[in-house]
Symmetry: C2
Subunit: 378 residues, 2 copies
């Protein structure tokens, strides 16, 4: 599984990528996967839509072009399918027989589904109080699902112990012992955004922060495309987005600190509720180095942003998507994000998995008669 | 919006399609839409995955190649995005300002989302007792959502009255006064299946029946590809799938009748719960003419089939997908479906919208300790 970036003619590489499958395997030469990866049984995530969000842009006052990278279009409707796909290939290479993970929900579903199709057993660990949609989706693929009485950080600690124990032998924890491979999957978000912009870097990109890994890998992916000559080398800014109820990185950014002080999460954005984000310091470094920022929004602002994205672009985002859209709005208002530049906002998950967050229902319920409808006054 | 199928060189048409966008607009020359349709603000559904389902094939004993056409990958996660996309173009052409529909849920979400992005008002009508996921998804895009105290058939009748009333002036009901356009969207399922099979007809295809429209339009789409010379002309069989609790077409098929006697639906497959299917007689004709059949499965068999598809292929289907997979299993067992032939099964919706159907949860819930995990005995 060792690999290095291909040297040589950028034009040839670009043509090779463009002729590839409509999923992340078009970038196989840039990933730690075998050359025949596209032929193996997998969920084949990626190459999700980059939506030109003109209606949202008008509402936010962004004039330089606003795009939503909508990863709810992945097989289990979150960006986690990308990282799991790479981890599955590593698990095959290492001869693991069981796929596992600690998860705030999205990853559990992605691992369960990928394991089912690829022929692995699975056993995934989640906090016991997740959203119903995520619990069902984690359980339906037939593997074992273990609820842990505790927070995500407790689940994570438990999994680290399990890896060191004979009980966990032969197990590939996608986000622990397979993490170096897993993480590389997030680079594909950067690759796709640039390719879909016509092999061009975005000026600004707004990324949600959970552990912080995704943001660091997006930066890595952009740098790789520059190094390979696939895009022109020019400045880009990376912005991080958190929920106020779990904003240790945002706090450190605003306070000018280089370390991140852990917090106890309390937010509806459960997929971002990692109180002790492993890659926090790297996120701070990237945001500062590129001229970006890290910002956070309240739960109320998250719900407002979910509704805003839905009514402007017809995209129903998970709470994490509410965080990035809400933070984008806040960054425009504060002047930290330049509205005259090309901006990409990530939506990493699906509103159907966090239904409880938006209390949406019928405007009115009536008998099936014209009189009743007239009386409703719509 | 009048159009006719393009005459001339099939090779040129095929190349033009293959060079088109990765959504239904690649087939714009075969659809009643303007030539620049891909540039207008829309959800751009379609070109969803055709999954080679080898694990499921082994379980069912299908040896000739089994594929799942997975329309849960559409923007609002059902095939309805296809039909709505065509109706939206017709609504633009007719100058309608409000998009509307009667819906069992999936269509409501598709109309709400498409209206939001395309700049229409929307007002959609649903039975008051739908699944939570479908209700939230219908409401979140900011249009009006009206719950009707009654069945889908009541909702439909009400909408027909509304169209004749001044209250409904300027309203485009996608599945009533825009139905001739709307229906054409289902043809794209047939186009994509053939293109994804390498411009080849499937031997057998299993389609869910609600109103029956989708099945008739898939037949139409296959015939068009033959007429255009895009696929070789050879026999194919179309099978219809219903839930036992709403199986008027299956009943008529088995009884050898040419008319369909309406029923009062009682099934968990609410998206198929149309007791008086308008296209029932045409479905019977197509199933008989092509050598197919119409079959139904119980609610228990639907849930079993949802779980079977999930644990074999990592696809979490809506109840309607449980119906087609369950019916496929039944048809193989009864010998009506030939397991040695290439078979395509449609999954038209997403399991996240019918969560209550599958009571899936954690295998076990424990404290975060190795001792507790060991005691759980997994």
């Amino acid at each position: 599984m060792a690999y290095e970036l291909p040297a040589g003619d950028p034009e040839a590489l670009r043509r090779r990528i463009e002729a590839g499958p409509q999923n992340i395997w078009r970038y196989a030469p840039l990933l730690p996967v075998p050359a025949d990866v596209a032929d193996k049984p997998g969920l084949n995530p990626g190459f999700t839509k980059l939506v030109k969000a003109d209606n949202l842009a008008r509402e936010l006052g962004v004039t330089g072009g606003l795009y939503v990278k909508d990863d709810s279009g992945n097989p289990t409707h979150s960006f986690k399918d990308r990282v799991v796909a790479i981890a599955v290939e590593a698990a095959r290479a290492f001869g693991f027989t069981t796929l596992s993970c600690s998860s705030t929900g999205n990853l559990a579903g992605a691992v369960g589904a990928a394991a089912a199709r690829a022929g692995f057993k699975s056993c995934v660990f989640i906090p016991h109080d997740l959203e119903a949609g995520k619990v069902v989706m984690a359980a339906v693929y037939g593997g074992d699902l273990v609820g842990i009485e505790g927070t995500y950080d407790d689940v994570n600690r438990f999994c680290s112990e399990l890896i060191g124990d004979p009980l966990g032998e032969g197990w590939g924890f996608v986000n622990v012992n397979l993490r170096p491979y897993y993480g590389e999957g997030s680079k594909t978000l950067a690759y796709e955004i640039c390719e879909q912009l016509g092999w061009r870097l975005p000026d600004q990109i707004v990324v949600p922060i959970a552990s912080g890994s995704q943001l660091t890998k997006i930066d890595k992916g952009l740098k790789e495309l520059i190094a390979l000559g696939l895009v022109e080398d020019r400045p880009y800014k990376i912005f991080g987005a958190q929920a106020e109820g779990c904003s240790p990185v945002s706090r450190a950014f605003k306070d000018g600190h280089e370390v991140v002080r852990p917090v106890k999460p309390d937010t509806i954005a459960k997929s971002l509720a990692i109180g002790n984000p492993a890659d926090g310091p790297y996120v701070l470094d990237i945001a500062r180095r590129t001229g970006g920022a890290v910002e956070d929004v309240t739960d109320e602002e998250i719900v407002d942003a979910i509704r805003l994205l839905a009514r402007t672009e017809g995209i129903f985002a998970e709470t994490a998507g509410g965080v990035t859209v809400g933070v984008t709005r806040k960054l425009v208002e504060s002047g930290l994000l330049d509205p005259s530049l090309t901006t990409v906002v990530l939506n990493t998950g699906d509103g159907l998995k966090t239904l409880d967050a938006v209390a949406a229902g019928p405007t009115v319920t009536i008998r099936p008669s014209l009189d009743a409808f007239r009386a409703a006054g719509l």
